[in-house]
Amino acid sequence: MSAAPAYNEDKGGSAGPGEPEYGHDPASGGIFSSDYKRHDDLKAMLDTNKDSLKLEAMKRIVAMIARGKNASDLFPAVVKNVACKNIEVKKLVYVYLVRYAEEQQDLALLSISTFQRGLKDPNQLIRASALRVLSSIRVPIIVPIMMLAIKEAASDMSPYVRKTAAHAIPKLYSLDSDQKDQLIEVIEKLLADKTTLVAGSVVMAFEEVCPERIDLIHKNYRKLCNLLIDVEEWGQVVIISMLTRYARTQFLSPTQNESLLEENSEKAFYGSEEDEAKGPGSEEAASTALPARKPYVMDPDHRLLLRNTKPLLQSRSAAVVMAVAQLYFHLAPKAEVGVIAKALVRLLRSHSEVQYVVLQNVATMSIKRRGMFEPYLKSFYIRSTDPTQIKILKLEVLTNLANETNIPTVLREFQTYIRSMDKDFVAATIQAIGRCATNIGRVRDTCLNGLVQLLSNRDELVVAESVVVIKKLLQMQPAQHGEIIKHLAKLTDNIQVPMARASILWLIGEYCEHVPRIAPDVLRKMAKSFTAEEDIVKLQVINLAAKLYLTNSKQTKLLTQYVLSLAKYDQNYDIRDRARFTRQLIVPSEQGGALSRHAKKLFLAPKPAPVLESSFKDRDHFQLGSLSHLLNAKATGYQELPDWPEEAPDPSVRNVEVPEWTKCSNREKRKEKEKPFYSDSEGESGPTESADSDPESESESESKSSSESGSGESSSESDNEDQEEDEEKGRTSESEQSEEEGKKKKMKKRKKVPEGQEGGLSSDEGSDSSSSSSESEMTSETEEEQVEPASWRKKTPPSSKSAPAAKEVSLLDLEDFTPASVQPVSPPTVVSTSLAADLEGLTLTDSPLVPSLLSPVSGAGRQELLHRVAGEGLAVDYTFSRQPFSGDPHMVSVHIHFSNSSDTPIKALHLGTPKLPPGISIQEFPEIESLAPGESATVVMGINFCDSTQAANFQLCTQTRQFYVSIQPPVGELMAPVFLSENEFKKEQGLQGGR
């Protein structure tokens, strides 16, 4: 080594960096010559003071590592440069160190102090990178140092360093699993972290170190749900899959309830063949076992998870979409699972590897939930350019989706596929046709005819596959198909594929009584060619001979004996065995009479037809989207998806802090706790969004989280095409729906209080009510509608008494009534704020209200109509004033608040020509001539929403600009209060039925 500097100076002096000797193309292989001194030049370069030489050397070394060449003997020379000032040299040294430290543990220790120094650096990025490399050096002796570093980093100021700490945890754990307890402490601490940066990484660490410690999640559950949308994609996948498991242990199955419901109502209406086909066994069993159980209430936290993951179906990452899809499949009520279909179908546009994985999962899902993918049938049509493995998976899905109604189209598709050049695919198609024929009785004959036509196909593989499938189909109803069997018998002359020959022989033997003339002749031919046949064919020849001997011994006795003699001397011992066995059975001998007397029963016993079913059946016991599911075998480290618990574990464990609200029930407290998270996450998602959530009433978020807990609430949500369309139109997003839902329940809560609300008409619940209990409501409503269409409605919702206990919980929700709309009151406690305001509003409605236009309306309940940024300085909010509109009793009065935050006056504010859906009309407000900067103004306009929650779209025009805005009323705002005595109320209630 001492000579090295001199050597190097020589070189450096003569030619400088980049001269030929150093300038090899790293990939050219010149430096990999087997010379044992091969690395001397590199060592020399590393020992110089010139960064450029060092860099060149490191680049070459890294290139060697990349090619999988051994560069370990350079370790001492490289490790010296760990403290090099040049960042790129340093980085490459790190790369080298991480790769070889394990092999050169002692030398690796030399570098540790550099990293320890780095851990104390004021720059967070240097701290993070030091921790990252330190924890990547797999040298057991530094475990204590790593532990210390991780602990320190976990309480670092910088979230980035904390993230790195989370990453380091599994590294240390894999190095020394004895550190588990200490590491769990760190994980617990990091799980409490509120930044999105850390969340994904720490959950990953949790999954690797202590997935069984589900208790650590409780306190962080809601936070994780709420942060989810802002976490980076990879973290989202990990968190979602962890939460899926968590939910399975903590919540009750949403389907147990469905099975109950189904028994009560749905079965009667829709219990046609389709429902039954879906999965009759399991559900019926469940429903018979369950009726004694109390009705199911979805835990609000369960709902929270479902709601917060749904937007992620729109992610660009296929992994995230799949993660959400599996979460919905495993956790959502059956009616809601449908939403994932569209997103999954979208993924089919992606790379073929993604398609492959997605199709596997779709295949499994389509067996359980066929209806979900039926609308997308055409998306699974096969193109000739698809790779074979994709084609076969698509075929699988198409077969699963085929039913009575779409089978003609599916079969027409299959017909095209049969003419494909890809023979593996053709064979799979024939099998698929066979499956369709068994599943759908109506087309069995058509399929069979089609398959018989294929028998004259020129391709032998096609013919063979058809024979095999025909054999299976014939087994179902052999009597009618003597002709086909005859046709098949003729084919024995031509078909060479052993499996097909064997199938034909088996068929003839099995149904020899349908073809009594042909069967012996076939045996004769086969006996002739016996020695040349394949083994499986030989076995079937013996079989055929035995069966014919038993039924028609006169004609075939000699032939049988001939075949058996040939078989006796066959090379294959299976065949010899079979021959000996058969002979003993069918030929009566002196001693062995007992069995041979029953030979006919043995050979010609009726055999059950084979069931052609999908290979994806029952794969869903593996968590979808997992590697194990894909392989249909348990992969190392696979965590079983736990079964739903019988009894829900205590939900209060997820409460984060002790609430002040002592009057309320435990559950309500929990809901209240969620609020801060909501506003958090909303605030984070974008600066412009804060405005629409802030002024919402106090309990808004609370109701959001819990309102959907109603039992079968969404039984129609996703199945229903129309509704999906609605969503497209932006009419009913899920949260809105849930709000409405909540409102209804809330109204039910105030059962003894005269019930109602000012402002308009009750909405047509038929379109958006999805709660099963409101079905009855709906019918009674429509009756009413006929009586007095479009008038203020008298409406008595079913009381909570008759509603299932399911409702009880949600009844406590204080929904959008909370904003003190009439007058701002400031009562002592929060509860009474809302209640008092509520009651006040109600009592007021007894006497006709004096329309006090432009009365001061509290800020609460304001919704944003136009953001000031979008409006170029003009901000517009609106509130529902909950007072009758003076002009027209059918109209809802809406207060519009304009404020000018620009620095020029806004002139001529008026309403542009509205484009309204039929039925909706608007009473314009008087034009505002000018709005000075900083000033604000309030006007009242009336909108007749025509009892629907359709949005009223209109233009706000200024002198210079036009803004398109829309107001969509929540249901509650469309209702008018009515007074009812208790008796009347009870009567109405009786009418509603409520189930």
Partner: protein
């Protein structure tokens, strides 16, 4: 019996200890394999996995005959190999424990996209030439097998992509590709955008590109047709601009997926795309136009392909013509078709463009160019078939490629693009284009 049991137990404990030693990491190693089966790059994020594990992959590759038929997931006794095939390179990830397969596949595709972003193309020679940058990038993308920095904006801050200019400068000055200031992007609230972006010309371009996927049957009627679209953006704006993009007819969009920068709530409530863009090129939105809308099919193909039983000659004739083009010209038309195995050669004359037929792969391709509605392009001639062989019972499908500039076939229109948060006036541009996606005509 006893012996058997104890062996069993011994095996069990060994396996257990193995398990505890190699506690899962998501992606253990990555191998890059070219089409001739050479491993030309390997990277390990944990202990080294011997490259002999790839033998299982080669086996599967052999069985699959075609590259695209290699199963993306291959189980081996101790590992699982997950691979993607792009640009004639297999990217094979080695994993040891349960992990969602799409997670790995998505990551591998992201790696390829990143390489493409860095080097313009992602090919074996390019990767070999830039092996150090590739290695540095891979090092940053995964930490202990778990994705760390996958946003190209952040990666480019950490490791500068090579440009010709920089390569020249580097050789002269001896400076490096590694960014000299430390990256800040990961720390910002907008993790996809780097801070301190500066441009003299501020511009934002959006390309609305729609692809028609269709299957047309023999008689010319549409079996299935759908429109998939994307909006690709190239945004070069100074500072932290906040953009909103609104459509004239957002209802058209049936299913959408967003770049993470798009504010989902804004879309849900107002059907407006509101976002702080990443710097440079990115895909803002992919969408699907609802199936209820009838899809306009801009071209038709008339075909007459016939084989006769006894003759060794077949007739071949196709004509391409415009159908519903909204008055635009159809350009860049190419027709490809996989002919049946029995076809030995074809002698064809095109009325325009050039055609080739590969007698080995039996692939016919015809580069048509523009379609002139007055004089429809056609390709006519004969096919010579294997003598004596019976006529092929399958007819070839015809795959079509074409482009229509200045048209979004669904009718989607961008209404306006506004910028907030910065003072300057950016230059804005929107371009529309319609292309054929997977457009097949069955014959």
């Amino acid at each position: 019996m006893f012996l058997g049991l104890s062996i069993c137990r011994g095996f069990q404990t060994e396996k257990d200890s193995l398990r505890s030693l190699t506690v899962s990491t998501m992606i253990h190693s990555l191998f890059l394999i070219n089409s001739s089966g050479d491993i030309f790059l390997e990277k390990h994020w944990k202990s080294v996995v011997s490259r002999s594990v790839c033998d299982y992959f080669f086996e599967a590759q052999e069985r699959a005959t075609e590259a695209e038929n290699v199963p993306p997931v291959i189980p081996t006794p101790h590992h699982y190999l997950l691979s993607v095939y792009r640009h004639k390179i297999f990217f094979v990830a080695v994993i040891q424990t349960e992990v969602p397969p799409l997670f790995v596949i998505e990551f591998l595709h992201r790696v390829v996209d990143t390489f493409q972003d860095y080097f313009g193309v992602c090919s074996e020679p390019v990767i070999k030439d830039n092996v150090v940058v590739v290695y540095e990038v891979l090092e940053e993308m995964l930490d202990n097998g778990f994705p760390l920095a996958t946003e190209s904006n952040i990666l480019k801050e950490l490791i500068k992509p090579p440009t010709i200019l920089r390569t020249v400068v580097n050789t002269i000055t001896g400076s490096t590709n590694v960014g000299d200031q430390l990256p800040t992007g990961q720390l910002s609230v907008v993790p996809w955008r780097r801070t301190g972006v500066k441009y003299t010309n501020n511009e934002a371009y959006f390309d609305v590109i729609e692809e028609i996927d269709a299957i047309i049957d023999k008689s010319g009627s549409t079996i299935t047709a759908e429109i998939q679209g994307v909006i690709d953006a190239c945004v070069k704006l100074t500072g932290m601009p906040d953009l909103t993009l609104s459509f004239m007819n957002p209802r058209l969009l049936d299913d959408v997926s967003f770049h993470p920068c798009v504010r989902f709530k804004r879309w849900e409530s107002e059907r407006i795309l509101s976002f702080i863009p990443p710097d440079g090129n990115f895909r803002l939105l992919s969408y699907h136009v609802s199936a209820q809308n009838l899809v306009a099919i801009p071209v038709y193909v008339k075909h007459n392909i016939s084989f006769r039983d006894s003759s060794s000659l077949g007739r071949f004739e196709i004509t391409v013509g415009p159908k519903q083009t909204m008055g635009k010209t159809i350009e860049g038309v190419t027709v490809t078709s996989q002919m049946p195995r029995g076809v030995l050669n074809m002698s064809l004359t095109p009325s325009q463009g050039t055609h080739t037929f590969d007698p080995v792969t039996k692939m016919l391709s015809w580069d048509v160019g523009k379609i002139n509605p007055q004089k429809l392009p056609s390709l006519k001639g004969t096919m010579s078939l294997q003598a004596g062989a019976s006529k092929p019972d399958e007819n070839p499908t015809i795959n079509l490629q074409f482009k229509i500039q200045q048209l979004a076939i669904s009718g989607l229109k961008v209404n306006r693009l506004d910028m907030y948060g910065e003072k300057y006036k950016p230059f804005k541009g929107i371009k529309y284009m319609t292309k054929a996606g997977k457009f097949q005509v069955r014959t």
